[in-house]
């Protein structure tokens, strides 16, 4: 009552009964306070939204309004060195849906409609859409079914007005015209997976994008993909395009010209297939000795990459995974085996360079040597030669592939504990092997390359512990390419090429040029030398001559061609369990060679999982040289 201004009292109609009215009036002050409090709360919230969070919400409003539609350039094509096209882009229709454009209350209608039209399971469709909604990119169409037929696409287009968000996407798929013949070169493309998407999102990849998963499709993804452009369009809440705000044209992808010669590849594949016998798998490589370009590379068995390229044909895929011969593995670069006597190229040049041997170093093979056990003098080991080859100089030692000759060069020779011939020893041998690029990947522009192994004392101790002390026998085995040493066919052909070209250890490659649509070269592959192998020209000339003699009168003459003079080395690497007489029933057959001897052009390696270098691998190489140096003069089928 005392709060009431006295001046107001005269307006009170019933001053005596004012008590409850005063209470009411006092309480109306509470109501004024409430008005102030509630509006203050609203103003504070507005200030928060409109002042402090303005930038954030403004960006979100902008991204609401503007949708960026990526425009992918057509994926680059791939040609062989003579311009033969190896891959095509074919258009397909896919049923898709833009999750953000599906109204909440019509979600089930859209799902049911899409399921009905495509024949997919409605639950799967719903899950696909929900996944995309959660992926923070609900504006990218989610493919419900790929490669729908024209009629289904037509029906979907017809019903689009009733199914907001549904779309017919025109996608492009890769069709590999030569399939299995060049699949290890090309690889394949597939739909981006979750992990890849997380990595590549920042580089403009979308949820639906495809990318190279193997071969040059994988390695040259950036070039083949080109630079995606985009259109920025203003859209309304139902996803309808209102108008285009900005556009950046996609930059065309480059087309790749490979070093591959597909005609040669076709022949090499045939020769290798016909010559591989009972081998589980086999590989052959033809390499340009002056550039490192791979003219042909065959790995058998092979696979049809059209099965793996998206959309994947699962039914045909499983047998590929189950096959013990591993058709999807590129045996030319991804698997390692002991090189056998082909390694004598390395041991021989190392011995010449280190002064351990010279062309007139004479050693006699009685068919075996005996080695005293370093730790148990009562015990001697027998190291065999493949035959009692008699007395040989360096040329003959290599040409006849005498193991005893190379035992001497690698480990030396001891009689009654006294050194009668000083050898290279494991340290120098492994150092040269590494100089030849063994034990590490060659750096070829294909994925999945194996490193191989160059053993040494430290490696053996690390691997086998106490029992892993390096022995003289280990050095002997190493010197003839047996034992722990393993190489890939590609590493081996590179060794031969380095000897042929005067000592340049080349980085092998399958890309020749990148060209634009008018076949102008955008980027030419530049010859890359990993290192000089460190053998003098004189010593290389000795090795070249020895390899030449091997191809003339040694076991390697099985690869000699009537069309060209070659220099060659065989290898037969025993593996598995020896028989009772100490011989091995299983061996890998190797053949490595280059030609022409006088002016080397190509180096060839042939690897057979089961076989003997001279008898099995050599003839395959011969047919390759015959074809390569006589084509143009020959009618197809003469081989």
């Amino acid at each position: 009552m005392q709060l009431t201004p006295p001046g107001r009292r005269r307006w009170r109609s019933r001053p005596k009964k004012a008590q409850p009215a005063e209470v009411v009036r006092n309480r109306s002050i509470l109501l004024r306070a409430l008005i102030v409090v509630l509006f203050s709360a609203l103003v504070l919230q507005l200030v928060r939204l409109q002042v402090f969070q303005h930038d954030e919400f403004d960006a979100r409003a902008e991204s609401n309004r503007l949708r960026t539609v990526p425009e992918l350039p057509s994926r680059g094509l791939v040609y062989d060195r003579n311009g033969e096209q190896l891959v095509e882009n074919l258009p397909i229709f896919s049923a898709a849906v833009v999750p953000a454009d599906v109204p909440e209350d019509q979600f089930l209608t859209v799902v049911a409609g899409l399921a009905e039209i495509t024949g997919e399971d409605a639950r799967e469709v719903a899950l696909d859409i929900e996944r995309a909604v959660k992926s923070d990119d609900p504006y990218t169409p989610v493919v419900i079914k790929q490669d729908i037929d024209d009629e289904t696409a037509f029906i979907l287009r017809e019903r689009q007005p009733d199914l907001p968000g549904a779309q017919v996407l025109v996608e492009s798929i890769r069709s590999y015209t030569h399939g299995a013949l060049v699949s290890h070169f090309l690889g394949f493309v597939g739909r981006i997976d979750e992990e890849e998407y997380a990595d590549l999102k920042s580089r403009g990849y979308g949820l639906n994008d495809k990318l190279g998963k193997a071969g040059v499709e994988y390695v040259y993804e950036a070039m083949l993909r080109g630079t995606p452009g985009y259109r920025q369009v203003e859209i309304d809440a139902s996803g309808e395009e209102v108008n285009q705000v900005a556009a950046v044209e996609p930059k065309a992808a480059g087309n790749l010209v490979l070093t591959l010669d597909v005609d040669l590849q076709r022949q090499v594949e045939r020769y290798l297939r016909e010559g591989m016998g009972s081998s589980l798998n086999a590989a052959a490589i033809v390499m340009d000795v002056s550039t490192g370009g791979i003219l042909s590379m065959v790995s058998l068995p092979t696979y049809d990459n059209n099965i793996l390229t998206d959309p994947v044909d699962d039914e045909k895929l499983q047998p590929l995974y189950d096959d013990p011969a591993k058709p999807m593995v590129n045996h030319a670069i991804s698997e390692v085996h002991p090189p056998g006597s082909t390694f004598k190229q390395v041991t021989g040049t190392a011995a010449l360079q280190e002064g351990v041997a010279n062309p007139s170093t004479t050693i006699t093979s009685h068919g075996l040597i005996t080695v005293e056990d370093e730790y148990n003098p009562d015990r001697t080991w027998v190291m065999r030669d493949w035959a009692a080859l008699g007395t040989m100089d360096f040329y003959r030692g290599l040409a006849m592939s005498s193991d005893v000759y190379f035992y001497y060069l690698s480990g030396g020779y001891y009689e009654s504990g006294a050194e009668v011939f000083h050898g290279l020893g494991v340290d120098r041998l492994s150092a040269y092997a590494r100089d030849y690029g063994l034990g590490s990947p060659t750096g070829i522009d294909l994925p999945g390359e194996a490193a191989g192994l160059v053993p040494d004392e430290e490696w053996k101790l690390d691997t086998f512990g106490e029992t892993g002390v390096w022995t003289l026998g280990d050095t002997y085995n190493f010197g003839i390419g047996q034992g722990f040493l393993t190489v890939t066919p590609l590493q081996l052909v590179r060794v031969t090429a380095a000897i042929a070209n005067g000592g340049d250890l080349l980085v092998p490659h399958v890309l020749k040029d990148v060209v634009d649509e008018e076949n102008n070269v955008i980027r030419a592959y530049e010859r890359e030398v990993e290192r000089e192998i460190g053998i003098s020209d004189a010593n290389l000339a000795i090795m070249q001559e020895a390899l030449r003699q091997a191809a003339v009168y040694g076991p390697a003459n099985t690869g000699a061609s009537q069309y060209v003079s070659i220099a060659a080395k065989t290898g037969t690497a025993e593996f598995g369990q020896p028989l009772a007489d100490g011989t091995y029933p299983n061996s890998h057959g190797w053949y490595t060679a280059y030609a022409p001897f006088e002016d080397p052009e190509i180096a060839v390696v042939v690897f057979l999982e089961q076989g003997v270098g001279a008898t099995n691998a050599g003839p395959v190489a011969k047919r390759i040289f015959d074809y390569y140096f006589s084509r143009g003069n020959l009618v197809e089928g003469d081989q």
């Binding site: 307006w11 109609s13 019933r14 009964k17 409850p20 009215a21 209470v23 009411v24 009036r25 309480r27 109306s28 509470l30 109501l31 004024r32 409430l34 008005i35 509630l38 509006f39 709360a41 609203l42 103003v43 919230q45 507005l46 200030v47 939204l49 409109q50 002042v51 969070q53 303005h54 954030e56 919400f57 403004d58 979100r60 409003a61 902008e62 609401n64 309004r65 999750p99 953000a100 599906v102 909440e104 909604v133 609900p138 203003e234 859209i235 309304d236 809440a237 139902s238 209102v242």
Partner: protein, 379 residues
């Protein structure tokens, strides 16, 4: 019957002009929001939202003036009948009403959708005012407070079942404010509030529908489901937030014009304002509301009797809370519930009800100088 104590010069033009300014403000926003509506009739068509709103406002103004000329005390006589009619309408809408966005709120009368809950709010104000004014001397008794609570609880449960959580809250707030204004004891009110708080978990578990629970969950986390039910709340905040201090300009709001909002001419009209006219526009709107509420409270204070005072108080609470809840929902301060913004949102039921409220307030103001004996209207 002409009441000779009526003084036309006590008519409050400020109250009326503030309300009309809000209607005009709303008309501009409805115009902007309706530009992008697909299949919207042209502005010279009477079925265009702005034209409809203008028609309702004109009708409302005439009704308000008519009611202002009547003695508001007549309402007290009518209160029992109005109450029964309102309860019946709410029950009917629950059984036979049209559902929109998962909730039944409408009935159709002569082709016009009518939202009984809007009208019921005013009826409850009148009923409570009558009941409490008649028991002015017994207001200290718990029985009276509880009876008034029961009167308000019936329509509250009916709208709650629609489900319309927002209106239910407003019914309860109106009751609370009016009982407080009538002079109820704090101890009684505190006891009832305490009992309600204890009951909240049970109500939430047993009575709150999944629809309401979901809306509350989404209010707490609108980003969780940006394309589902949280869409509306999030898009509204994006709209308002992106408007900034000065706004994007009328008809230039992207969120509004590209149809990211639903019900952008009714429940979400404030978002259009926030986006296109910014914080400045909102402050102007709030100023108009505060002027209106202040003048309405003035009517409560100047009322010559408790009945008028309580009606005016109820109307203030009604308009204040509708405004607060609507803007609170638009700005993400409160969970999503469909409450129109008084005078601004498109909607005939709401607008007519509000103009009736204005008429009652004017009637109270114009009859404030009457000297009467209490027995004339008490009892």
């Amino acid at each position: 019957m002409i009441d000779r104590t009526v003084r036309v010069r006590d008519f409050d033009p400020v109250l009326m002009l503030a309300a009309l300014a809000l209607v005009v403000f709303g008309g501009l926003l409805i115009y902007s929001a309706s530009l992008s509506q697909v299949g919207a009739p042209s502005t010279d068509d009477l079925s265009h939202p702005v034209m409809r709103q203008a028609l309702f406002a004109t009708a409302g103004l005439i009704i308000a003036l008519g009611i202002a000329s009547m003695n508001y005390r007549t309402l007290g006589v009518l209160s029992v009948g109005l109450y029964i009619a309102a309860i019946a309408a709410l029950a009917f809408v629950l059984v036979a009403g049209d559902a929109t966005y998962g909730s039944r709120r409408w009935i159709e009368i002569a082709g016009t959708p009518v939202q009984p809950s809007e009208i019921a709010k005013l009826v409850i104000i009148i009923t409570l005012a009558k009941y409490l004014a008649d028991r002015q001397e017994q207001i200290g008794q718990l029985r009276v407070v509880l009876t008034s609570l029961a009167l308000a609880a019936v329509p509250t449960f009916l709208v709650f079942a629609e489900p319309d959580l927002g209106s239910a809250v407003i019914f309860m707030a109106i009751w609370f404010g009016m009982v407080l204004a009538a002079g109820a004891k704090w101890t009684h009110l505190a006891g009832i509030i305490g009992a309600c708080l204890v009951a909240v978990p049970f109500v939430f578990a047993g009575l709150v529908s999944d629809y309401q629970r979901e809306r509350i969950a989404l209010w707490l986390e609108p980003d969780k489901d940006p394309l589902g039910a949280g869409f509306q709340s999030l898009q509204a905040q994006i709209g308002i937030g992106s408007g900034g201090i000065w706004g994007k300009g009328l008809t230039d709001g992207g969120q509004t014009q590209l149809n990211y909002l639903r019900t952008e001419t009714s429940d979400y009209v404030f978002t259009v304002l926030g986006e296109e006219l910014g914080l400045i526009g909102a402050l102007i709107l709030f100023s108009l509301f505060i002027i209106l509420l202040w003048r309405a409270l003035r009517a409560a204070e100047l009322s010559r009797d408790l009945f008028g005072r309580l009606i005016a108080t109820g109307i203030v609470i009604f308009i204040l809370l509708q405004t607060f809840i609507n803007v609170g929902v638009n700005t993400g301060l409160l969970p999503v519930t469909g409450i129109p913004l008084p005078f601004v949102s498109q909607g005939g039921s709401s607008l007519i009800t509000l103009f009736v409220c204005l008429g009652i307030l004017q009637s109270i103001l114009m009859r404030r100088r009457t000297f009467t004996v209490s027995s004339y209207y008490d009892g």
